[in-house]
Subunit: 387 residues, 4 copies
C-alpha cells in the first residue's frame, strides 16, 4: 500500500535546526565502517564461493580507546586501541569451512588503513574477533524472494536542508584526498555540528590534528588558521545566511592544550565507539527529522529489511524530489512473511501536494520496489555509504 499525504511542517520553517556529522575517523564511524567493510567482503566471498550471500550480521563492534602521548613530530602509544568484532556469520556451508575470521580481520585492517592512514596497524590497535556462527534456516537461502522475517521500518527524506548539506559536505571536503594533499595535518576524525537559529547558522568543527605533521605550537596555530579560512570560504559558497564558524573550540593554547593526536582520531586516546551510534544512512544525525534507530552498518544487504528500507526510503525521496517536489518524506514498513518488495505500507509526504506529484510518487515507489535488488548490489560494490 502506498499512502501519500501533504508535508505538514517544512524543515526550513522550523525556528531551530540541529544537525551533526561524525566524520569517518570518529570512533563510532570507525566501527560502522569496519562493520560495513566486513559485511561487503563476506558478501563477495560468499558469492565467489557459493553463488549466494550466506547469512551474516556483523553489526556489533566495540572500540575501546587507547592512550597515547602525542608530541610535535610524533609521539608514543601507551595503550593500543582495542577493537572487538562481534556478530554472526556463516562459518560452514556445504561441509566447507569458511575463513570468516581471516576475512574479517583483513577487512578491518584494510579499512583502518584507509580511514586512519596514520594509525600504526601493528602496535596501535589490537583487534579481536568474536564473530560466531549464526544459525539460520538454510532452505530460506535458496528462495527466489526474500521474505521479511521481522517488522522493520525505514525512513528517508529529500532534499537535505541547507544546513544539512553544509554539515555533510564540509566534512567530506575536509576529508577529501584533495584537501588532505595540502593539509595532511588534519586527521579524519572531524565532527561537524550545525545549528540554525532562524536565519543564522553556527557551525562548530572539531578536527584532530596529526602530530607528525605539526612541528610546534605555532605551526599548529598557523595550520589551524589556514584550515579555518578554507572552511569559512567553503561555507560562504554554500549559503547566503550569516554564520559563525568555530574550530577546535576546546583549545587553550596558553596552557598548551590543543587537539592533537598521532593517528588523527580521538579513538587513540579516550573516545570509545560502537556500531550504530553515529550517523544515519544519509550520513547525518538530524534530531529535527524522523530517524530510524536501525544500525545499518554490518547488516546483510540482501535480507535485512531494516537496512534496505532505510536506503530505499532515501532513494525514493530523492527521486521524487528530483522530479520536482520541494520536500519529500518517505516511511516504509515491512510485512512479516511477505516479500520485501511488498511492504505493508509506504507512507509518503510531499510538497507541493499536486496530482502530478502524487501520481509520479506512486510510480517511482513502485519502480524502486521492483528494482530493490539493485540496492544490495550497490551496497556490495561500495556505491552506497550507510553512515
Amino acid at each position: 500500500m502506498i499512502s501519500i499525504s501533504q508535508v505538514t511542517e517544512h524543515i526550513e520553517n522550523q525556528k531551530i535546526e540541529l544537525v551533526e556529522r561524525k566524520g569517518i575517523g570518529h570512533p563510532d564511524s570507525i566501527c560502522d565502517g569496519i562493520a560495513e567493510e566486513i559485511s561487503r567482503v563476506l558478501c563477495k566471498k560468499y558469492i565467489e564461493e557459493f553463488g549466494i550471500i550466506l547469512h551474516h550480521n556483523v553489526d556489533k563492534i566495540l572500540l575501546s580507546a587507547g592512550e597515547t602521548i602525542p608530541e610535535f613530530g610524533g609521539g608514543k602509544i601507551i595503550e593500543p586501541i582495542y577493537i572487538v568484532l562481534a556478530g554472526r556469520a556463516t562459518k560452514e556451508f556445504n561441509n566447507m569451512k569458511i575463513p570468516v575470521d581471516e576475512y574479517a580481520l583483513q577487512a578491518a585492517k584494510n579499512y583502518l588503513k584507509k580511514a586512519l592512514p596514520n594509525l600504526n596497524i601493528e602496535c596501535g590497535v589490537i583487534i579481536d574477533s568474536k564473530i560466531r556462527q549464526g544459525s539460520v534456516d538454510l532452505r530460506s537461502l535458496f528462495k527466489k524472494e526474500i521474505l521479511a522475517n521481522d517488522t522493520s521500518f525505514g525512513v528517508g527524506y529529500a532534499p537535505l536542508s541547507e544546513l544539512e548539506s553544509i554539515v555533510l559536505n564540509l566534512e567530506r571536503f575536509l576529508n577529501s584526498s584533495e584537501f588532505k594533499a595540502t593539509h595532511p595535518e588534519l586527521g579524519s576524525d572531524i565532527k561537524v555540528m550545525g545549528l540554525r537559529e532562524d536565519n543564522k547558522l553556527k557551525i562548530t568543527v572539531a578536527g584532530a590534528f596529526i602530530s607528525k605533521h605539526v612541528s610546534s605550537l605555532e605551526d599548529y596555530l598557523s595550520k589551524k588558521q589556514a584550515i579555518y579560512e578554507k572552511m569559512k570560504k567553503f561555507i560562504e559558497d554554500k549559503t547566503e545566511k550569516k554564520f559563525e564558524l568555530f574550530f577546535n573550540l576546546a583549545d587553550n593554547p596558553n596552557d598548551g592544550s590543543i587537539y592533537i593526536t598521532i593517528c588523527g582520531s580521538s579513538c587513540e586516546c579516550g573516545d570509545d565507539g560502537e556500531v550504530g551510534r553515529g550517523n544515519r544512512v544519509n550520513g547525518l544525525i538530524t534530531p529535527n527529522r524522523y530517524m530510524s534507530l536501525e544500525a545499518a552498518a554490518g547488516k546483510n544487504p540482501k535480507t535485512h529489511t531494516g537496512k534496505i528500507y532505510n536506503i530505499l526510503a532515501e532513494e525514493i525521496a530523492n527521486t521524487i524530489y528530483n522530479f520536482g517536489a520541494k520536500e519529500v518524506y518517505v516511511k516504509i514498513l515491512s510485512q512479516i512473511g511477505k516479500p520485501i518488495k511488498e511492504p505493508l505500507i509506504v507512507s509518503i509526504k510531499i510538497s507541493p501536494y499536486t496530482q502530478e506529484l502524487i501520481s509520479k510518487a506512486k510510480e517511482i515507489t513502485k519502480d524502486k520496489l521492483n528494482s530493490i535488488d539493485e540496492i544490495t548490489n550497490k551496497i556490495i560494490d561500495g556505491k552506497i555509504s550507510v553512515f
Copy 2:
C-alpha cells in the same frame, strides 16, 4: 528561551503507528541495564568517598552471544556469553586509587542476577572489563554549576499513545514478579512489537521460555497457551480496539522448533547486544515520534546534558499533560558554555493551544529547569529507568 507552538500532527491521527519495546532480558537491554547500573554504583561510591560525582561515561558495552543447547528440564552451555565493559571512569583521585573494575564487575553481575535470574553466573558468562581512566579538567568538578560542554539535545512527549502504553505495559506485566510467580517458565527476554493500522492493533510478542521450567513439547505448548490467554486479557482491558495477538510466531512445533532457552534470553545463543541500540529513555522505540539517538544508559547523570535533557523533556511533557494538555512535545537544546539549567531553547508543542496551557507550560518548564538536580538524584537512586 522557551518557544511554544501548536501540535501539528496528532499521533492517534496517523494511519499507521509502529511501537517496539525490547524487554529487560533482550541483549541490547541487558547492555543498557549493566551500563546504567555501573554508572549508578560509581556515582554512589564517588559520593561516598569524595563527596562528588567524578567523571565517568560507561556507555559502551558489547555482548557477544554464547551458544547453548537447551533441553527440557535443563541444557548445556556450549560457549558462554562474552560481555566486554568499556567506557571511561575516574580511577584515581586525590592520590587515591579507586577500584573501578571491582565496582563495575560486581555491578554487572548483580544486575545480571536480577535481569536474568536463571543465568549461570559462574559458567554462562565471561565479563571482561576494559573501562579505562578518563581525562577531564578537574577544576570543573568543583564548580557550582555544570556547564554544557557540547551541543546536546533532548526530546520527550506525553502522553503515550494507547498502542505505546499497551506495548510498554504488556512487557512490564509479563516481567513483573507477580506474573513470574505463576509463570516462571517465561524468561525476561520479551520483545513486544505493536502495529496500529487505523483502528486495528496487531501485537506481536516474542518471549524466551526457560528450559528448566518446561518438561516437554506439550508442556511448552500448554504454558504458551496459558500465557497467551493472559496477554489477551491484559490487552482487552486496555483497549476497545480490535486487535490480533501473536506469540512466538516463529515456533514450528512440528519440527520441534520452539523458543526455549536455559537462562530466559536469546543472548545465550545467537543474539548479540550493545548499549544504546534499544529503547529510548521512555522505554520504547517509536519511529512515529521524534527520537534522540543518545544512548542514555551509562552516562554521567550529573554532567551529561544529552542524558539529562531527554529525561527532563519527558518530565516536562508529562507534567504539562497532567495539568490538562491533550498532547505535548518537548525539545531541549543546550547552549555550549552555559549552565545546563539555561538551555539555548526549550521548544514545546501543545494541544490544545490555549493561553492557560501556554502560561502553565512556561511555568512548569522553568520550575523543572530550576530543579534539574533532582533528576540526577532520582537516576542514582534508581527511580528513573533510562531504557
Copy 3:
C-alpha cells in the same frame, strides 16, 4: 627392558642441597591446580557420557596478576586477576556437543574457591576460556591398549631427603585446615625454600597474610611471630640438624612494608603464573635431582605417557624403598608405537645394590607396569597430586 645399577651419588652426601616448594596458592601452582582440576572434571564427564576418556590436554593456562591495595581489615581490587584457559579438549563426539567451556569454567572457579577461599570470585578474577577442539584419531580411542605416540620420559626417586621432607611437609602443615583454623591470617601462597650446607639447614618461608584477618601492623607482627614459633617447632621435630628459619624476609615494618594481601596470594598483585613452571609431580623443585620438564597438570591421565611415567617412576621408587632400599632412582622411557605398559627401558639405580633388592626391584617394576591403569583412576579420583 629393566636395567638396574648402583646409586653413584647419595643425596645426603652432597655438600649443598637446594629444595623449593611453591605452595598451593602460588601463581604457578594455581595454574597447575586449575589445569589438573579441569582435566579431572573432563575425564569424569567424558566417562559419564561416553564411557571413555576423550582426547584432551588442558596444560596451558596463564595467570596475569591483578593489582590490589590491601588494607588492614580489607582492601580494594584495582585490577582483577586475569586467567586464560587454553589447551585442547574434545568438544563434539558422536554428533553430540560437549559443554567443555562450562565444565572448565566451573572447575576453575571451584578450584579457586578451594585454593584461595578469600578471593572474590565475582570481582577479583576474570577467567577467559580459549580451550579449543583438539583433533585426534578417533579409532585410537577404542583400542584396548594405549600406545605411546611420542618419546616420553618419566623420572622419580625415593625417599625424600630430610630437607625435601621438611620443605614439602612444612608447606602442607601451614596449609592444613587445622593450621588455618587457628591462623586464618595466613594465606595459601606459601613458598618454602630449603638450603642445606653440609649439616646446616636454612629454611626460608614467604607467606602472604590475609588483610581481613590482620587489624594493624602490631597485629601482623605478633601473628607473624606466633606462626614463626610454630614453624620452628615443626622443623625441630623433624631434624636433629641445626637450622636457621626466616619468615617473610622482605618485610620492613619501619616503612610499613609487610607481606599482606586480600586473598592470600601474590597473584592478586604482581606475580604471574603458568602451568608447568612450578613443582614437579612429587611436589618439589629439586635442582640436585634429575627432573622432568614435563608439565603434568592438565594432561590426559590415560594417554599422556609423560604424565603417567613421572608418577609411575615415583611409585616404583617408593615401593622399592618401602621394601628396604636406602635410595632409589627410577627413569622410564617410552617406546613409540608400543603399549605404554611396555616402555623402552626402565632404568633403576638402587642402594644398597644387593641381589635381593635387584630382584625385588624388577618384580615391583613389572607389577607396577601391569597395573598402570590404576594411576589413571587415582588421578581422576584426586588421590594423586601432580604438583
Copy 4:
C-alpha cells in the same frame, strides 16, 4: 665459595640417552623467542631513554593455537592464533610514561616475521598485551651492584654429548637460511628427538611443511625424501655410530595425512605453547643431565640471577672444557642479599680430576664472575640465545 669434585658419571657411559630440541618454530619456542625479544627491546629502550635497565620480567606468554585448513599451494585460516603477552615492565619512570605495549607488540610481531616468515601477521594471529606495571624498589636500580634477592640456581655443562650435538645442530642446519634457500617448503617448526641406546642412535624429526611451496602429494613426498637424504648425510658426517632416521613419522600418505601447514608451524592448528616449557638455555632438553626449571626467556638480563647463572654456568663449563677438560658440570647458587658476582657456592665437577684443571677451573670461575656484566650485554645484543 668454589667447590670442585670429580665427575662421577660420564654421559657417554650411560646406556640410554635422550635429547630433544624444539626448533624455533615450535609453539613453546615461539613463546620463548617473543619473550626474549621483548626483554631485549625493553632493555635497549630503557637504556636509550634513562641510561639504565628498568625492572621488567616478561616471561609469561601463552600461545593458543589457531585452526587452519592448509591446501596444496595455500589454504585458509579458520581461527587465528591467539597470543597473550603477560609479565611485568616499568611503564612509568621519572614521571615519564613508557610505551611498553607499543614496544612489546612491535617486538612480538618483528620476532614472528623472522621466526615464521610465512605467517600472515595481519589475519593469522591476534596478539593481546596484558603486560602490567611491575613494582620494584627504585633505589635498588641505582646501586652499583646487583644483589640477589632470591635463592637462585644455575646449571651448565660441557661439552655437548655427540647425540646432543647432532640434535642441536641438525635443527640449526634445517633452519639455516642456506637450507631454506633450497628448501623453502620446510617450516621452522622442526622438532628433533634423539635417542641413544648404547651405540646406536635413533633420530626422529618432525618438520612442518609449508603449503604454498607444496603443489601435490607427490611433490610433498619427493621433497620430504630430498630433505631426508640431506639430514641423513648431515648425521653421517657427525657420527660413526649406526643410526636410524625418521622424518614425519605420523604421515600416512594413503589417507592423505601429511604434516603440512600454511605458516610452517603447528601453532597455527592445534599445538599451544608457553614460555619456559621448551629448551633450556643451551638449546636442548636433556633428561640425562641436571636441568634448571628456570624459564630464562623474557627475564631481566641484568638482575635475574636465575637467568644469568644458567648462562654463566654454561660459559664456565665451556671455558674449562676448552682448556682441556673432558667433561665439566657447573652449578651456581646465589646468596640472598649478596652481589650476584658473589654466589653462595659454585660447585664444579671435572674430569679428568687433575691438579692443573682444578686450579684452572677456579681461576676461570673467578674471571667469569668478575666479568658477569658481559653476559647482560651479550644477551641484549642478541649474541646469546637462551632457548
